[in-house]
Symmetry: C2
Subunit: 133 residues, 2 copies
Amino acid sequence: MAEVTLTICTTCRRGEVTDPEAPRPGARMLAALQDADLPEGVAVRGVECLSACTRGCSIVLSGGDARWSYIYGDLDPDEHVPDILTGAAAYAATTDGLVPWRERPVVFRKQSIARIPPAPVAAPSTPPSLSKD
Amino acid sequence: MAEVTLTICTTCRRGEVTDPEAPRPGARMLAALQDADLPEGVAVRGVECLSACTRGCSIVLSGGDARWSYIYGDLDPDEHVPDILTGAAAYAATTDGLVPWRERPVVFRKQSIARIPPAPVAAPSTPPSLSKD
């Protein structure tokens, strides 16, 4: 199993009034990524609802016990797939998930919803990182 | 070490123009929770910046390999500490992190920023849950 996972919300509507019979933008995003040439060590999965409905399409980039996880939103399945793949490759190349700012795709710099530190491994009061971005 | 972790962003300003010498609202939130009577199995830690700056104060509730993680925002250190503790206790009582809607504090129902599923344990294409909330 790949160490890094791109989790795609398949129920995201992107605020669009869509044909109820048509695939939702989130499902189209998942399909586009499943058809793409994924970076080494990166797998894709779909889930129903990341509870970021006002910011869809939304995705999570996570992997391993030592990496920060990132949630991105306001993504467009027709525009952003190449940037997501570039960002996922840079993320997979780190050990802690912290890609230098200038090496992140612009869409990751501007459309981050939140980030989550790795689970604590020492005393719970020890911050996992002093980085601020 | 406790299995469930409440991670508190200590740099959150809550949009307030604060005295630069005074503790930020996020740091006050952490202090209030550290002083509180925590539910069994729940630990508190502070981190610098969850990158949810427009939604501060922000926190993450996470724990173990099988639970969904939740990010909450727009929290007030002077108002919401009891609700956060109630919500953390309900979360710690689950195995998957999915607390029934009616059992969540109102602040958790209304102020969720996003949720992240647990890491995949089977094939990456297998959704970890079909629940939609």
